[in-house]
Amino acid sequence: MLRTEEMLLNVGPQHPSTHGVFRLVIKIEGEIIKEATPVIGYLHRGTEKLAENLQYTQIIPYTDRMDYLAAMTNNYVLCHAVETMANITVPDRAEYLRVITMELGRIASHLVWWGTYLLDLGATSPFLYAFREREMIINLLNELCGARLTFNYMRVGGVKWDAPDGWLEKVAEFIPYMREQLHGYHQLVTGNEIFLNRVKGVGTYTREEAIAYSLSGANLRCTGVKRDLRKDEPYSIYNRFSFGVPTREAGDAWSRYECRMEEIEESLKILEQAVAQFPSDGPILAKVPKIIKPPKGEAFIRIESPRGEIGCYIASDGKKEPYRLKFRRPSFYNLQILPKLLEGENMANLIAILGAIDIVLGEVDG
């Protein structure tokens, strides 16, 4: 007798396109996905629990390991939360250094996304081009803080290291170079008919769904919601720069792609202004006691990371360690919509949809 059977397939945790140790159990009929169940936690390290036994400065290296593609924003969200609680004013020069490093990190993160997404879709070259540019950013950050990925650069009240001689000039040189390369990227990929066919109309959701699922970042902006915390709730010194918030209406993988590519350009604009306005001298670290003891109370700070809204909640009982620390990790929230999007799609679209969400497993698993 002829009949078809549903097949249970484990995609991951070892799979080339799950971007780390993400596992997806899918029920498929032929190549059509009937049901998808994400399984996470393979990279769980218990950052939040560990933090309860650490002094505030000691927690900073742990944040590097959450979203390891844009560690600067993680550094910042923790420091900013503590600063808010302890009422510390950060010197101007430190704020500029923070913004420059965060925006460089944002560009690097989007570049990794761009390269790996195209790799997922079967194109090998963009990955290498993207990593060439990312390497330059990493070298810049390396020069600043001696690490390529886990920077541990920011401190409560400022930053650890001042910019070495000639560093700002190098950043300034990088901006036009990156613009030129971006043009090349668009030439290679953006107009490609096969690529457009793969991403247009794939993984579509509406504005209401995006809000209901608590999506943020490009995943939200692709549905037409103009929400960027750098603009809406300006933190640090973002209100001193003029930049746009790219949005699209369609809510598909293609609009997410377009948003991210434009975000790189906007970040370059911020960098340009930040380098031009950079204060010639001044302290890079506020006068902060050796052991920071924020007053009793709680604070929640959220900022715009490359992946969305990253938040940090601190409950302090006045000791040198936090009573409770909680991160709102955007990748984790953005991933929630995945099972819904995958229903009825095929294997090839699974990769296109998962890739377009832009997750970092270190952040999903905490």
Partner: protein, 332 residues
């Protein structure tokens, strides 16, 4: 030359010569595979701003592929417990034997051809279809879900692309008035068929890439989706056989493109002094380069889009091309 050997009175010497030539040719093909892989890696490296192999065999990495093959031969031959053992062993053979069989009919120069059969083109297409059976068998016998999906994709892809491939060639056959590859090349003495059949050439080239399972049509392997597709479970020399088949097909398909559309051993009119073999090799290398170039540039199509493209775009174009060719041939 071959024809005379085949048709003259049989003797052991002649069998020996024939055998010797076949072995020589086998070495040529294997040499091609070795250096095609190397040049693919080098050219891809150049296009992607990498260096490529540069350790084994001098700074050009000339012996890299040899070392890779040696390593593959030394690897443990694993067969999954739940695999269909006889089929699992048979599949690589099924995939690679036809790859060598098709080479017999290809005339590389005016003289050098093993079997000058009347329906050479048809023979090529028919035999090359067998490889897909090997791929499907491999996908099924591995008893792996990813392999199965890869195998099924390969089957669907072959059915979709064989049709426009054959249809695109009808124009060439109409113009040449023969299915014999030598006569097709002979008909291009004045003008190559790429100029008379531009539409046919484009359809043929796209379908040929799909036949070769190369980017952007590498769905049966689809590394990022199906891990490695039909050969997920294969390792060592069995895996090497699949790769060998793939590259021999690349050789055969590039040769066929040269023969059918680029005038085979004919040079351009003002470059008559170039020997046929060199002329053939040059055109052949250009085709290979374009294949590698395409691999570097494109993302992968989706399975359903691939079917749509084959049936709704390529096939109608190919059919229209046949009609137009027949009409023009009748009128002029």
């Amino acid at each position: 030359m071959m024809q005379e050997l085949l048709q003259s009175a049989p003797s052991w010497t002649k069998v020996g010569i024939f055998f010797g030539l076949a072995v020589l040719f086998l070495f040529v093909v294997l040499g091609f595979v070795t250096f095609a892989i190397l040049s693919e890696r080098k050219i891809m490296g150049f296009m992607q701003m990498r260096i490529g192999p540069n350790q084994v065999g001098g700074s050009w990495g000339l012996l890299q592929t040899v070392a890779d093959v040696l390593k593959l031969l030394l690897k443990e031959d694993t067969i999954p417990k739940k695999a269909d053992r006889p089929l699992y062993i048979l599949a690589p053979v099924l995939a690679f034997a036809p790859a060598f069989m098709v080479l017999a009919t290809l005339p590389f120069t005016n003289q050098f051809q093993f079997a000058d059969i009347g329906v050479g083109l048809l023979y090529y297409i028919a035999i090359s279809g067998i490889t897909t059976i090997g791929v499907v068998t491999a996908g099924w016998a591995s008893n792996n879900k990813y392999s199965l999906m890869g195998g099924m994709r390969a089957a669907a892809q072959m059915i979709s692309y064989e049709v426009p491939l054959v249809m695109s060639l009808v124009g060439v056959v109409l113009l040449a008035g023969s299915l014999n590859l030598r006569e097709i090349v002979a008909a291009q003495e004045d003008i190559w068929f790429i100029f008379l059949q531009p539409v046919g050439f484009i359809v043929f080239f796209i379908a040929a890439i799909a036949e070769l399972n190369r980017v952007p049509f590498d769905l049966p392997e689809a590394e990022s989706e199906l891990v490695a597709g039909f050969h997920v479970e294969y390792s060592g020399f069995r895996w090497a056989f699949f790769m060998l088949a793939e590259y021999v097909y690349m050789f055969a398909m590039a040769a066929l493109t040269t023969l059918l559309f680029l005038g085979g051993w004919h040079s351009l009119p003002f470059l008559d002094f170039i020997p046929g073999a060199v002329s053939f090799a040059l055109k052949f290398s250009v085709v290979i380069y374009v294949l590698i170039w395409i691999r570097v540039s494109f993302p992968r199509l989706r399975a359903d889009q691939l079917m749509e493209f084959a049936w709704k775009v390529l096939l109608p174009i190919a059919l229209a091309n046949i009609f137009l060719t027949a009409l023009l041939k009748e009128l002029f």
